[in-house]
Symmetry: C2
Subunit: 724 residues, 2 copies
Amino acid sequence: MDFSSFLTSLATSFLIFVVLMFLFTWLSRKPGNHVIYYPNRILRGLDPYEGMRATRNPLAWIREALASTEADVVRTSGVDTAVYFVFLNTVLGIFVLSGLLLLPVLLPVSSTARFRIDYDESTSQGTFNNLDKLSMAHIQPKSRRLWAFVAATYLVSAITYSLLWKAYKHVSNLRAAALMSPDAKPDQFALLVRDIPPVQKGQTRKQQVDSYFRTIYPDTFYRSMVVTTNNKVDKIYQELDGYKKKLERAEVIYSESKTTAKPEGSRPTTKTGFLSLIGKNVDAIDYYDAKIKKLIPKLESEQKATLKDRQRSAAIIFFNNRVTAAAASQSLHDTMVDNWTAMDAPQARDLIWSNLPKNFYERLIRQYIIYFIVLLTIFFYMVPIGFISALTTLDNLKKLLPFLKPVVEQPLIKTVLEAYLPQIALIVFLALLPSFLLFLSKAEGIPTRSHAERAAAGKYFYFSVLNVFIGVTLGSTLFDTFKEIEEHPKSIITILGNSLPGSATFFLTFVALKFFVGYGLELSRLVTLVLFHLKKKYLCKTEAEVKEAWAPEDLGYSTRIPNDMLVVTIVLCYSVIAPVIIPFGVVYFGLGWVLLRNQVLKVYVPSYECYGRMWPHIFIRIMASLILYQITMLGYFITKEFIYTPILIPLPVMSFIYMYVCKKKFYRFFTCTALEVAAHEVSAAPNMEAVFRSFVPPCLSTEKPDGHQFEDAFSLISANGSVA
Amino acid sequence: MDFSSFLTSLATSFLIFVVLMFLFTWLSRKPGNHVIYYPNRILRGLDPYEGMRATRNPLAWIREALASTEADVVRTSGVDTAVYFVFLNTVLGIFVLSGLLLLPVLLPVSSTARFRIDYDESTSQGTFNNLDKLSMAHIQPKSRRLWAFVAATYLVSAITYSLLWKAYKHVSNLRAAALMSPDAKPDQFALLVRDIPPVQKGQTRKQQVDSYFRTIYPDTFYRSMVVTTNNKVDKIYQELDGYKKKLERAEVIYSESKTTAKPEGSRPTTKTGFLSLIGKNVDAIDYYDAKIKKLIPKLESEQKATLKDRQRSAAIIFFNNRVTAAAASQSLHDTMVDNWTAMDAPQARDLIWSNLPKNFYERLIRQYIIYFIVLLTIFFYMVPIGFISALTTLDNLKKLLPFLKPVVEQPLIKTVLEAYLPQIALIVFLALLPSFLLFLSKAEGIPTRSHAERAAAGKYFYFSVLNVFIGVTLGSTLFDTFKEIEEHPKSIITILGNSLPGSATFFLTFVALKFFVGYGLELSRLVTLVLFHLKKKYLCKTEAEVKEAWAPEDLGYSTRIPNDMLVVTIVLCYSVIAPVIIPFGVVYFGLGWVLLRNQVLKVYVPSYECYGRMWPHIFIRIMASLILYQITMLGYFITKEFIYTPILIPLPVMSFIYMYVCKKKFYRFFTCTALEVAAHEVSAAPNMEAVFRSFVPPCLSTEKPDGHQFEDAFSLISANGSVA
């Protein structure tokens, strides 16, 4: 890539961004689109423009985003989102400080060096001298100028350490503030217990759980809720819900048909068979009505059966104060660790109910099997793709889907398909990967969605750093590289240092594309907008259906964070070798900050709150990037034949010590609640019945106020306050 | 060593044992020796022969030992001792079962093989064919008979796994039974808190601690005791105590002199100077009396000063129920893990007071420094010995200690000394090593003596296995071996397999010597007896002094367990290669069991109780021996050119999985108290004041009942039960 084409690429990306931004300004003003651009505000019952000044400046959203405070973010979107902004702030801080200190020194040092670069060492594969001049490749081997780069390597590390330390403290305070809030959350009074041993003869599960906890916590135990297998009752509940929606829809159609003055007889009809496509034609309203009437008693009897017979080995325990719940979640209850394992209860909406009854060892074994599968995926992901593309050759396709035959036998289409089938398989694989990793993480037996998302994000991070970053840099698959390292074990250090400079421009373009096009699409929400209008026009009939069509998603940490982390890794690794990349990193995170502030305040709605437990995960990944950077620099200085290279060896050691100290000092508070925090007074004595009800899954809840059906799996509290 | 000299060595050891045993029978019957052979019983106020039958059979003690139950051991000597017997039982069980299954099969298989053994492969360095015939060395390489040994290798592992599993469960139950006993111990109500942050202005340490815990535990907090620096007050206390003893002694001498009808004026005198050796002659009784009168108010004012001004950043917190104390010890209190770190309070006598105020990071750093020192000690212990022996050449000795000159200039003595000085240095080093390791472990900042002993035992185990076992086997120092392994990394497996068979007879003799001579000395207590009689005759005047002279020690786990473990390692490693070693192992642990039962019931008095926390430590060391054995077998089968050798690879893998599962399942209960256990009812509401007083160090306690001096470091409880 020569300089002009690099600039062209940059300019094109920027142009797309500007176009998308103006599209956003224009589209977001149309009232019909407000549900797409302000769903968060609408759901909170606010006017889209509330609190904004009257001037309809096209960049007003930027001013508004910059003016918002962290407290605003916590209030509208929770601690998790605020922690994500701490991450953006910190990385931005690292890059801004590094840029301010490195660029004025390193660029002159490089560009004034007089050294003809070999083709091999070029940062742009030999055709792009303007950038080469500004990179470390332009420095002569053994040159004394390399000292400046040694200092820069240390400087970037020191900046990272100090900003991360501040960030960790800050996040810890955010978490503490949320947990000590006088406005106590239901999950703070609850404890999740798993691996309950088998029930003894003559005792029900509920009695077992209640008597166990009443013995240990005679004064503070309130009530328990045994986890049940809900798939059967849930199926009926979903069916009933579906019929209710269909009935509503049919009624709307009917009333519309009346207003449009059609004859009375045009009541909507439906077919009774599969997907309402086949079968007898019947009157829709009557049909759904009958179905609902039949399902309601079925649901009730199934609820009773579930609560009575499908109790499993997990339970949620409720205490009447926060300190006991917090202490209980950290304590060993049985002498055997694999019985009565306790943990902090997450929010009810965060629970993965089906994972709760999974056994201690089952969880362990699943975890290791899945680590192994992920390892295989990371190292050999090309194998199944090759296999799939071999299976999906044109001949096979023709056999499997004969109706495609006339199409694929066109010579042009045939050539294109034959050439691109493997690539298509790769693209499909990469598109499905995050969902696949999330599925794997859930299959580990993790009890909460937030934890599963963290686990999936971790897996995706290692996949993208190892395959995208290292893969592109070394120009080969990881597996081949590892074979080489195995044969020449000492090459492990120099192998990255040797190859890194060659890919600098590729990654410059990559980052630029990511922020201009990626953020442009993020802000304008074009895909969501188009989908919404299509749905609204052709599918949605009722209010509820329209609302469902625009319901905003959450931030999607499991892909967002690994993507950001890949940029962090790239920019850190090149920060000293080719410091021109730093401004690109600053733009990526600066623009991202502003844009996401807007999205968070107006669009996204978090689907759970885990009080910043994401942070230690982010911290570890940043440190992994930093260590990769430090080892890369070590390798690169060796290829520069710099005899003082060993002066860099303390850096990775320091990083490990730093991580260790941070883990020791901060980490435990992110796995549980400190008692000091839980001991803060609550504003009012909690309504324990409401706390309890908030954990009842929708398919088991009932409209009847007496709640008689809870007596089996859920312990009852009698009038005098003692447990029945 | 040929067969006859091996038998001679065995016979000699056995003869020594028989002599010592009869010596024991004879000596233990003399009433004057009862304090040496029955101190435990005497201290418990029992008659030495109580509960024994009248017949004075010389082997009656064996019958008595065999008849005693585990409950007896727990009652007289505590859970720790019972756990030590579980260890002996388990190892004995492993060896008996292995012997029963292996000997009848492997010995015929070996002895009927027709294979001339090379000198290199002999298990007795070529001169000892009778034993060689019974060992695996007698099997031809690649022989099909090796399958029997493969099966044996698996069998020994399987026996070890199953017996260890049973033992772990059993120990866990022992611990639970002790902790759930209705007769609650003071330490079960206490919590040890370290790393208390600095006191804020206008607040005392006591107020800070009290208000902190009263906020978190409003209903269950009873009182706190801030840890103080006691060395100054302790010095005065010791001084006062010394004078009190001296006064008592002087009075005894005086009254004796009166009864022997000496003139009235012969009151005992003493000198006022250094060690009572120099200075003015004064009347002893008056002098000590005056000293005591002067010291008592000094002690009191020093106690007050200590409690007021020498408060440190650690405290012991008392709760009025066991569950809260157990839950608190497992909970995070501050958001920063390095503040307010809490742990189970050990027994007061188990505390190392001076280590309590050590800071979180200080402890971490000390720990790593000490690990490093121990590593150096294990690998390079020859270096300082060489250095010391170079320093202590005769010429240097003559310069330093001129009065030795006439002695060392005798030609004979000179030759002997010059030849043996290095050996003497080695012996002195090995004798001092356990104390050195215990000193190092205490310097880590460990808060309890029991933990320090465990840590020292672990260090000593690795020293002895690596240097004695591997050192003797390979016939060189570890350091040389490691250099070889570094040069030929793949030799790590075969290096032990190659060398092991050559040392079989050495270790047979070693084990035999250890049990016959070692246990003979243990039982007869000759050294202790002689020392006691010497002290009694020449030094002791008062009752208290005599009692101090015979005061029994504890079992001394920090050296006893590593010594036993070395035998376990040796016997396990040779169990398949030379199965004749198994009976020796059986005798060692069988004899040890009987002997120590006797000693435990009659002699030793434990100096602390940590409810079996020693066990996980023992378990890990047995597993380490097993894994060493499995790897050795792998190496030995390779040298036997057995092509199915890889069939043994799953063994070490299985061991690691087994260890991991055991750790997951059982370990946590050994680091803290399960709430279920703590929730068992106590027989009577604890006397909290007595619980509190049991933790007051002797130098700070006072005879005055009002306890007014506690007001500074110890929070006071007022009449109405609230804390002042």
